[in-house]
């Protein structure tokens, strides 16, 4: 009995010593440890993700010929419709490029697109962070916007060798500027994720809405990117306004809750938009790049 008690005491002491040692360790060591753990964990996550893909593949292989013929027919129709759309999009793109050149406005095609599979959601914060199957080796850089179609998913926060972590738009660390439907001329509002527990529905908060703004009656109010911040291209859908746009207590500004796009529920694949040249903000976050600039030496 006495021996058991002594053993328990010893383990508590060991735990306390370990915690104290961990707290006192240099932050570089802890960062290295975290990085090493992420790299160690990455192959397992990748294997899991690939296994899921393989299972999906064999599931599809088991479909009947009729099902495949029907799916193929549907795809042909969709393909024809998309071809038509593509043609008109080409015209619009050319016109857009011409106008941008006239205005000397930076081209949005200054992004490289990297498509990445979602391999995991960070279980410590279910809706706040996802892990994608592309990393430093694929040219992913921190701060790069992550989209699915024309919907914003979030921003790359940490990049590892082969995987990257993405802060979703509902993450408290996410922030961007947006325009609201029905605001003419459009004025900048602030979108930021809301802190919440992993069981609650994900939401973001829209603040700094001008007092005289009213959402269009009877319509879903879309929240879209401004394209002014140099990170997100303009016009991407961030989400929609949920409920009323209410005045702040001072009645000088308004605020609202934003629901992210439905695509966030079933996201398997995303596109990472990597700026061809690093933005000033990116340089600022990268000490080695930043210190190359003479004015900050």
């Amino acid at each position: 009995m006495e021996k058991n008690r002594q053993g328990a005491k010893a383990s508590y002491v060991a735990l306390a010593v370990f915690i104290a040692a961990w707290v006192m360790l240099p932050s570089a060591f802890r960062r290295f440890n975290r990085e090493a753990f992420a790299e160690f964990q990455a192959p397992a996550l990748q294997l899991l993700s690939k296994s899921r893909d393989l299972a999906r593949y064999w599931e599809l292989r088991s479909r009947s010929d009729e099902e495949l013929i029907s799916a193929s027919r549907d795809l042909s129709r969709i393909n024809a419709a998309l071809e038509l759309k593509l043609q008109s999009t080409d015209d619009i793109r050319r016109e857009n490029a011409r106008l941008r050149e006239m205005l000397r406005y930076p081209s949005s095609s200054e992004y490289l697109t990297v498509v990445a599979r979602v391999i995991s959601r960070d279980t410590s914060s279910w809706w706040q962070r996802i892990i994608i199957r592309k990393g430093r080796n694929d040219g992913i850089r921190p701060g790069a916007p992550v989209v699915f179609g024309n919907h914003v998913i979030g921003r790359v926060s940490i990049v590892h060798q082969n995987v990257s972590e993405v802060d979703l738009i509902t993450s408290p660390s996410f922030r961007c500027t947006a325009f609201l439907d029905g605001d003419v001329p459009p004025r900048i509002v602030h979108v930021g994720g809301m802190a919440g527990n992993s069981l609650s529905a994900p939401r973001a908060k829209i603040t700094v809405i001008p007092n005289d703004y009213s959402p269009p009656a009877g319509e879903v109010t879309k929240v879209v990117t401004t394209g002014l911040g140099g990170v997100f291209p303009a016009g991407l859908i961030i989400g929609t306004i949920e409920g009323d746009v209410l005045p702040t207590p001072e009645a000088r500004l308004k605020e609202a809750t934003m629901v992210p796009s439905k695509v966030l529920d079933r996201i398997d694949e995303v596109s990472v938009l990597i700026p061809k040249y690093p933005t000033p903000g990116e340089i600022l976050m990268s000490p080695t790049e930043f210190l190359k600039l003479e004015e900050f030496k």
Binding site: P106, G143, S173, R175, C176, T177, R187, I188, H190, T207, V208, P210, N211, T226, L228, G229, G230, V231, F232, P247, P249, E250, A251, R252, L253, Y277, T279, P280, G281, E282, I283, L284, M285, L293, E294, E295, F296
Partner: protein, 679 residues
């Protein structure tokens, strides 16, 4: 041994019992008094101790021009702030570095530790400012610019930390965050020059600048004048106030005044329409009744009444005509390129609505929306920018007054519309020759020609024959010495509040009584001659002369100007009466003013397709003891069916060549063109 007990009916027992009973009754009655009679007071006191009222200022109302264009609005202001507490380790490190450098430079001299500390703070904050500009500035947004390495702070001293602000902050509000950039998106600030650039600066900061550090972006609402200094003298500006507008909604059963109050700072009008229409624009404050914790924090919201934005105000101004007036005024410059002081007014002749009222130099109310810095106040003051020259500037009307001399002459039968006077190169008054502005004289001149060419001798002769009293009477009939602008029926701090505060009240229409009153001695004929050409003691404002032109166009004597749009009610021009001329006489005056534009002193500012009437004037005045000229033009348009009247004044400087038609004429011309474009 037993102790004998005292008998129960002993008097001592009875006294004691009585004392106890009295005490008991006193306590019971006291409790009853507290519970029954003082209950409501005590409950209120308890609530007062546990509750707090938070009063929040409302957003002020918007001010529009007559076409619904916003002249004053509320906008979001984005401020970049630095948490000096969080920066302390960085400042300490910088301080040690500076200390070490100082010791290396001179080992034996004792360093100035306070100065080193201040320099350390400034260096750290400037470094952060460099990073902010690096992120938000357009110059850094292309790869090429980034590789070229631009040095923002060194090139732009305005972007560096303001030492005075930092010292004041450390002295007065050390616990709060320090404002690094007071208005990131304000057009014209060091951060940005246009609204688009401002928007980009905000977006870049939010999306690119690292969050969670010592630098934060915060927003609030601020009064905004989207057109900068446009119509600044009319619109005015706002200042901080603790006197928030009342709100009694839902508080009938509450004694809000007796509760502890937490009030936010609001804004109140400090000048112009912002001041006079403050009761309308200020709106209604919001209040919240909170239960508070014992530590003083708000715990639970019991009830509230929201703030209500102030009512919008629409002015009679037309932004396009106002812009034309101000832009053309700003084009008139002295020999070193500074804009000459001046004023311009345009109004509707029938309704008295003021369509444009410009005064130069001016100020930018955006720079006063937060607080008036001594530097900016002194800068505007040194330029004379606080004075609204249109309503407060007192000037001799010069030859524009000749119209009144002509009317006085005809109404008093000293001259008629077709009388021709011989006008030589000068006119002898007493022992002095009063000159003509044309060295050889004009020869035979009638009323019409006099107005076209602005003949002086004709006016000397007519003025002297009319006499100073009747000449003054005629000028007073047109209200040249009467305060203008309507009185508003608001209860304000001042008993008398006109549409724009502080209009001129010291106009002068001189006569012999006036001269003796001011101790100027006896009136002489030279004084009459001077008055007849609009000089001497005469003083009036550009607004008065615009009203005179409007009255003349209708064949009446008075026009009541207003800054508010016509509402369809019957227009009453206070004190007006028919001009008192017959048809030929009035026609002669109008023809003379028409010829002034077509072939006379204003022919250089003729507008093809828009015939109009005008009279120019060039008055002498003394600026710091040396003679200079005032340039005037008044008139109305169109010639056949008048709609608008105008008056323009420009203060010439000692070294400028300033003439009515040449200097003031182009301003009137631009205003008329702008009006013609929108009519």
């Amino acid at each position: 041994m037993s102790v004998p007990s005292a008998p129960l009916n002993s008097w001592r027992v009875l006294v004691l019992a009585g004392i106890f009973l009295t005490g008991f009754v006193y306590v019971v009655l006291g409790l009853m008094y507290r519970q029954i009679f003082q209950s409501s007071d005590l409950v209120r006191d308890a609530e007062n101790q546990s509750q707090r009222v938070v009063i929040r200022p409302p957003a002020r109302g918007i001010i529009y021009d007559r076409n619904g264009q916003p002249l004053v609005e509320n906008r979001v202001r984005w401020r970049v702030k630095a948490d000096l507490m969080a920066l302390q380790p960085e400042i300490r490190k910088e301080y040690l570095k500076l200390l070490s450098q100082s010791k290396q430079e001179s080992y034996f001299d004792k360093p100035d530790y306070d100065k080193l500390q201040e320099n350390a703070r400034v260096n750290v904050l400037n470094r952060w400012l460099s990073k902010i500009w690096f992120v938000v500035d357009d110059n850094y947004q292309t790869n090429k610019a980034r590789t070229n390495k631009v040095y923002p702070l060194r090139d732009n001293p305005e972007r560096q930390v303001n030492m005075d602000s930092l010292r004041k902050h450390l002295r007065e509000s050390r616990a709060l965050k320090f404002i690094l950039i007071s208005d990131l998106a304000f057009p014209g600030s060091p951060a940005s020059r246009t609204t688009e650039e401002g928007d980009r600066a905000i977006a870049r900061f939010i999306e690119q600048f690292p969050s969670g550090g010592p630098i934060t972006l915060e927003s609030d609402m601020v009064r905004s004048y989207p057109n900068g200094s446009l119509a600044a003298h009319i619109l005015g500006y706002v200042r901080d106030t603790d006197e928030l507008p009342p709100n009694t909604e839902g508080s009938d059963d509450l004694s809000l005044a007796s509760l502890q109050r937490l009030k936010y700072t609001g804004k109140k009008g400090a000048a112009g329409i912002e001041e006079t229409m403050d009761p309308v624009l200020r709106g209604r404050s919001g209040w919240e009744l909170w239960n508070k914790t014992s530590s003083g924090y708000n715990k639970e919201l019991i009830r509230s009444s929201p703030a209500a934005q102030g009512t919008p105000v629409t002015l009679s101004l037309d932004i396009n005509i106002q812009k034309a007036a101000e832009e053309s005024l700003s084009n008139i410059r002295d020999s070193v390129g500074r804009p000459l002081p001046g004023a311009a007014v345009m109004m509707n002749v029938n309704t008295g609505e003021i369509l444009a009222m410009a005064s130069q130099p001016s100020f930018n109310p955006n720079r006063l929306a937060d607080r008036v810095t001594n530097k900016y106040y002194d800068e505007v003051d040194a330029n004379g920018g606080w004075l609204n020259r249109a309503t407060q500037g007192l000037y001799a009307p010069g030859s524009t007054f000749k119209v009144i001399t002509a009317i006085a002459g005809m109404r008093n039968h000293k001259v008629d519309w077709d009388d021709v006077l011989d006008c030589g190169p000068f006119y002898r008054v007493g022992n002095r020759n009063f000159p003509e502005h044309e060295p050889v004289g004009f020869g035979p001149v009638d009323v019409e020609k006099m107005l076209a060419i602005s003949c002086n001798v004709w006016n000397y002769r007519v003025g002297l024959s009319v006499g100073p009293e009747l000449l003054a009477l005629e000028a007073r009939r047109f209200g040249l010495d009467r305060p203008l602008l309507k009185n508003l029926n608001f209860t304000t701090n001042r008993p008398f509040t006109t549409e724009i505060p502080y209009p001129a009240t010291r106009m002068v229409v001189p006569d012999p009584d006036y001269k003796s009153r001011i101790g100027g001695g006896a009136w002489n004929q030279g004084d009459t001659a001077n008055t007849s050409i609009g000089q001497g003691f005469l003083l009036t404002t550009p607004l008065h002369m615009a009203c005179f032109a409007a009255s003349l166009s209708r064949g009446e004597t008075r026009t009541t100007p207003t800054l508010f749009p016509y509402t369809g009610e019957k227009v009453v021009h206070e004190g007006t009466q028919p001009i008192g001329l017959n048809r030929q006489q009035l026609e002669a005056i109008r023809s003379g003013m028409y010829r002034c534009v077509e072939e006379g002193t204003a022919k250089s500012v003729k507008i093809p397709g828009l015939p109009y009437m005008a009279k120019t004037g060039t008055a002498e005045y003394f600026k710091t003891g040396v003679k200079a000229h005032l340039a005037w033009i008044i008139g109305y348009a169109p010639a056949d069916r008048p709609v608008v009247a105008f008056a323009v004044l420009v203060e010439g400087q000692l070294d400028t060549s300033t003439w009515g038609g040449k200097t003031a004429g182009p301003v009137a011309q631009e205003m008329l063109k702008a009006w013609a474009d929108i009519r």
